[in-house]
Symmetry: C2
Subunit: 207 residues, 2 copies
DNA sequence: CATACTTGCATCACGTGTGTTGCATGTCTT
DNA sequence: AAGACATGCAACACACGTGATGCAAGTATG
């Protein structure tokens, strides 16, 4: 499916010169790296970072938009894989929550630009994938409620957005090769317990 | 102080033609409005939104950068005012926390672009203000810990970043003129309690 | 070795945004 | 009414990024 995948497979099965599709991958990786630092980077900068000429980039991607779309599509797929591989619909809620968090953190630190890119209506596939992941997340939260892990009175969508924000924040911290597992633990812990002291303690003189 | 403020006061005290500084304000407000929707908006679009000619904008702001700096400085000041007016160093922690949240949410919904703009090293004043607010926030959290509102074992800076993220998320929701007070309540509640059920309940079969 | 293919390089056209300038017009002050 | 000042408008030069093209050189395939 998806024009992109077809293109890649077609190139892959053709026993041609050598590394045409490897060039594509190199360009995309370099683009992600550079764009993460400067979202307004020019095609020339992306090409230089990839170690190829600017014209070569244009040979692979007709327009700059096409390159960006390719990136977002790729990131979206990695995102979905990270979530799905944590068995969010099968594993016990807390386990799944932790596993999903850790997996997503791993990919998000490496694809910060492409993943934060709002897939708008420009890239319908990425939009669909993100919507699907969102639904999976809500299902997981719903299961968590039933299991007594999450409070029954919370707004699931608000909780999901908070969850995303926490992951985003943790990913920023772990950009420099941090410990993904401890970050995931912190994210889940913060999501579940917050930062407040358990109610009914001594110092509760605040209000 | 700050070149900017001097300029404004100078213009204000001069009983000149009429609304020169009002024009400046109009332009900045329009710029904020437009840039919030499209950060890459051109000077022409900003001018049109402000109801003036593009050349007039250039008469007030030498370069586009100057305009953006002005915006960020203005927003930073509003930000600091919103925090300070909540008496974060004097009021009881919980009260201050709620008040700060509500105040910041109010300004953030109206200055989403300028406030999210990282003041880098380009605008030293804005950077200083943000650093100051950050310190105030940490102090408030520290007081909250001593008062038993926040757990003693949490990372204050991580908590601050989570707090910022929650406000950011709530501001997105309230952009369309939402109820600031209820949003503030939700933010504080989420920050303190998180989304998890109190430990030691029945369904805690997650792990 | 000959062929097919890709790459790099230089170049060009094009569009767009920026910043400047000169001039005519309008408006407020004195 | 006269002067001072700000505005709108039109035009301009300039820089930059994009996308396309032609050509020479290198490399793998037959």
């Amino acid at each position: 499916m998806t024009a992109h995948k077809q293109q890649m497979e077609q190139q892959a099965k053709r026993p041609l010169r050598a590394d045409t599709e490897r060039t594509v991958q190199t360009i995309l990786e370099a683009a992600e790296r550079v764009l993460a630092a400067d979202p307004a980077a020019t095609m020339g900068q992306l090409a230089q970072a990839a170690g190829v000429a600017r014209t070569t980039v244009h040979r692979r991607f007709a327009t700059r938009e096409a390159l960006l779309d390719e990136l977002t599509g790729w990131a979206a797929r990695q995102f979905a894989d990270a979530v799905d591989s944590a068995r969010p619909d099968a594993a016990p809620p807390l386990v799944a929550l932790y596993q999903v968090t850790a997996n997503v953190l791993r990919v998000k630190t490496d694809w910060s630009f492409a993943m934060n890119r709002t897939a708008d209506d420009a890239h319908p596939e990425a939009a669909r994938i993100h919507a699907e992941v969102r639904a999976t997340c809500i299902r997981l939260f719903s299961r968590s409620q039933e299991a007594g892990v999450l409070r029954p009175d919370i707004d699931l969508d608000w909780t999901r957005r908070v969850y995303y924000a926490l992951i985003h924040e943790a990913a920023k911290e772990g950009a420099g090769g941090g410990d993904t597992d401890s970050l995931a633990t912190r994210v889940v812990d913060t999501l579940l317990r917050g930062a407040g002291a358990p109610a009914g303690l001594a110092g509760q003189t605040g209000i």
